[in-house]
């Protein structure tokens, strides 16, 4: 196992080492000590390795991640897992705003709460938040799934495209063109499958979730809908 203590090494040195990993590397276990809220930890990794960060991180941890399995044993600052392509990021604490922003693939799990704009402009990522999410979550969400065990703030799914939202608790308000949709059996099955694949099955009853998505009324401009914006 490779260990980087960020009181002794820099984030640059850590990321440079992670970026040199080849597909056939045997160096698949990485431990990051004393992250102390540093930004861009494990950003731009493209390797099937496990990275355990022992503490809280700053902005953009795991940004543009490909294939890596990153665990943050603490909380994460703004934009954790932004634009991630694949792999998995698990934040054991809370996540600040724009968690999983523009993510194109992979899985982001937040054990605590996520702040505003969780999943903003998401493009295929799956996000599971076991606590609450803040306002404007899944804003302009294009694809992927956002699952919230707790509550959602104002303007959920504002201007949403084809992202699919599942929220168990109350929703403070829906954004433009976002509507509640029936939670049919196939949706429950989809949610069960997602939770099982992410190791979160049997923690919640999928029957308690409500489903939200696009009304698709704003997909092509119509002056009579101008008031919706």
């Amino acid at each position: 196992m490779s260990t980087f203590d960020l009181t002794k090494s820099s984030v640059r040195e850590l990321n440079a080492a992670l970026h040199t990993l080849k597909d056939d590397t045997n160096d698949t276990l990485w431990s990051v000590l004393n992250p102390n809220g540093e930004h861009s930890i494990a950003a731009g990794v493209d390797a099937a390795v496990a990275i355990n960060v022992q503490g809280s991180v700053g902005y953009f941890c795991g940004g543009m991640n490909k294939r890596a399995n990153i665990v943050v044993d603490g909380s994460a600052g703004q934009g954790v897992g932004e634009n991630m392509m694949s792999g998995r990021i698990h934040v054991k604490g809370d996540a600040s705003q724009s968690a999983g922003a523009t993510g194109r693939g992979g899985l982001l799990i937040v054990d605590g709460n996520a702040s505003a704009r969780c999943g903003i402009s998401m493009k295929g990522i799956d996000i599971i938040v076991k606590g609450d999410v803040g306002h404007l979550s899944a804003f302009m969400g294009q694809n992927g799934r956002l699952v919230v065990f707790g509550e959602a703030g104002e303007a959920l799914g504002d201007s949403i495209y084809e992202a699919r939202l599942f929220v168990r608790g109350p929703v403070a308000g829906l954004g433009a063109d976002c509507i509640e949709k029936p939670m049919r059996d196939e949706h429950k099955a989809e949610l069960i499958e997602l939770l099982a694949a992410s190791g979160q099955d049997h923690k919640v009853d999928v029957a308690e979730f409500r489903r939200y998505g696009s009304a698709r009324k704003l997909y092509n401009f119509n002056i009579d809908n101008a008031g919706a914006y």
Partner: protein
């Protein structure tokens, strides 16, 4: 004949200067369609521009260089502040960001070919990087936009530089819209959205707000690309002094400043014509900000928005820019608005030189379209050659003017080489009115 008829004297019908023909037609169009006018291109009205400045050729007090013998350098290096691999260009005229989606794949390829032949860079746009463009572009700048359509770390690393787009001159403070009729299967796939819908591009980035956040974002992009790539910041000209100062504070290697004449693929007419300031008025405050921070020539300044010829290049560089970027002019060089398509422009209710419904995807020249029958009209090899010729002519023109001012490099041009022909230009560019030493408003 009645007394009234006997006393009637015909007068010339008088049209209102306020309600001119265009204004009347726009009111009729709006009332009929219920939607604002959307079009491509930049501001069309008369604005103070580089024609309002002249260069002061050498005479008794300055010594000129021989036009056909003595060297006048044109090279420029961009991204010297932090990047391990700054960009070295043979000429200070670059190709501005334009997206695949708004432009056809052939047009993007032609831009890459032309830029490479001339020794300069081209730039992606909203919608990601196409293999054709990367393959034909020796130096490619990859735009990082609020929508992040197509954004991925592999393309980021394939790029030669990264341009974070905060705004553009045609619409500072505005997002974008690619209307459904241009969303082909390929465009839809690259943007990960359904075919045929209007694709909005956000006006703000999704994961940072303000200069402090941006500094962290820039560092993330540097980390992902191992600090190799120059990071540009592109801003629309509105408050250039403060925007450039904040760009420097955020850690940019290069600032791209786009005046209101800069084009767009599709934006509201009201936005294009009424938001932002002309490039002529934006350069000096931007240079002042760099100078006040001790960063002039250390953080390079690229300016764009209505650059048309070598005179514009020379004047922009004399005002303190390190390079210019062209978009609309490059499209014209490829064949945009060519009179040879006049009959087809007429069918679309337009005329060569005025066609700007680029968002509709019916461009007879095959440039602003995704329709295969139209886009195949543009041969990327021939069009690329035309662009290269044009870029070389611009460079020769700029060199000619610089030599006349006694400069052995385009970057040696300076404000003292200029005079203004109008009060507006004198005040905006902070250049003395010709024949005087007067700058309205002071320096």
């Amino acid at each position: 004949m009645t007394s009234h008829e006997r006393n009637w004297v015909p007068t010339t019908p008088r049209k209102s200067a306020t309600f001119d023909d265009y204004t009347l037609s726009e009111i009729r169009r709006a009332s009929l369609t219920g939607i604002y006018d959307i079009r491509g291109g930049g501001s069309k009205r008369r604005l103070p521009n580089f024609d309002d400045l002249v260069l002061l050729g050498a005479s008794m007090s300055r010594y000129p260089l021989e036009g056909y013998r003595e060297k006048c350098g044109t090279d420029v290096t961009l991204g010297t502040r932090f990047a391990k691999k700054p960009i070295k260009l043979k000429i200070p005229v670059t190709i501005a960001g334009m997206s695949f989606g708004s432009l056809s794949a052939n047009a993007k390829e032609a831009l890459g070919r032309g830029a490479s032949l001339a020794g300069t860079s081209t730039t992606t746009g909203d919608g990601g990087m196409t293999p054709e463009e990367r393959g034909q572009s020796e130096t490619l700048v990859y735009q990082y936009l609020p929508s992040r359509y197509g954004m991925n770390p592999d393309d980021l690393r394939r790029a030669d530089a990264i341009e974070i787009v905060i705004g553009q001159g045609a619409k500072p403070g505005g997002g974008g819209m690619l209307l459904g009729q241009k969303i082909s299967d390929r465009v839809a796939e690259m943007r990960q959205l359904p075919k045929g819908i209007d694709q909005r591009s956000a006006c703000r980035h999704p994961d940072w707000t303000g200069a402090d956040d941006l500094e962290i974002k820039i560092n993330e992009l540097r980390e992902i690309t191992d600090w190799e790539k120059p990071i540009y910041l592109k801003v629309g000209a509105s408050r250039p002094y403060f925007d450039v100062a904040l760009a420097v504070k955020s850690g940019a290697d290069v600032v791209v400043l786009d005046g209101m004449q800069g084009g767009t693929a599709a934006t509201q007419e009201v936005f294009i014509e009424h938001v932002g300031i002309p490039l002529l008025s934006a350069i000096r405050p931007a240079v002042q900000a760099l100078q006040d921070l001790g960063m002039h020539r250390k953080v390079q300044l690229v300016v764009s928005g209505g650059i048309r010829n070598g005179a514009d290049v020379a004047k922009a560089l004399a005002l303190g820019a390190d390079a210019v970027a062209i978009g609309s002019a490059a499209l014209v060089a490829l064949g945009d608005n060519d009179p040879k398509w006049e009959r087809e422009y007429a069918k679309l209710g337009s005329t060569a030189g005025a066609y700007d419904d680029w968002h509709e995807g019916r461009d007879p020249a095959g440039i602003t379209t995704q329709t295969p029958e139209l886009s195949q009209r543009l041969d990327p090899v021939i069009a690329g050659r035309r662009l290269a010729n044009y870029l070389k002519v611009m460079t020769l023109e700029a060199q000619t003017l610089a030599r006349a001012c006694g400069k052995n490099h385009l970057h040696n041009l300076e404000p003292e080489d200029l005079a203004a022909l109008t009060l507006d230009a004198a005040a905006m560019a902070r250049i003395p009115l010709a024949g005087t030493n007067w700058i309205p408003g002071g320096v």
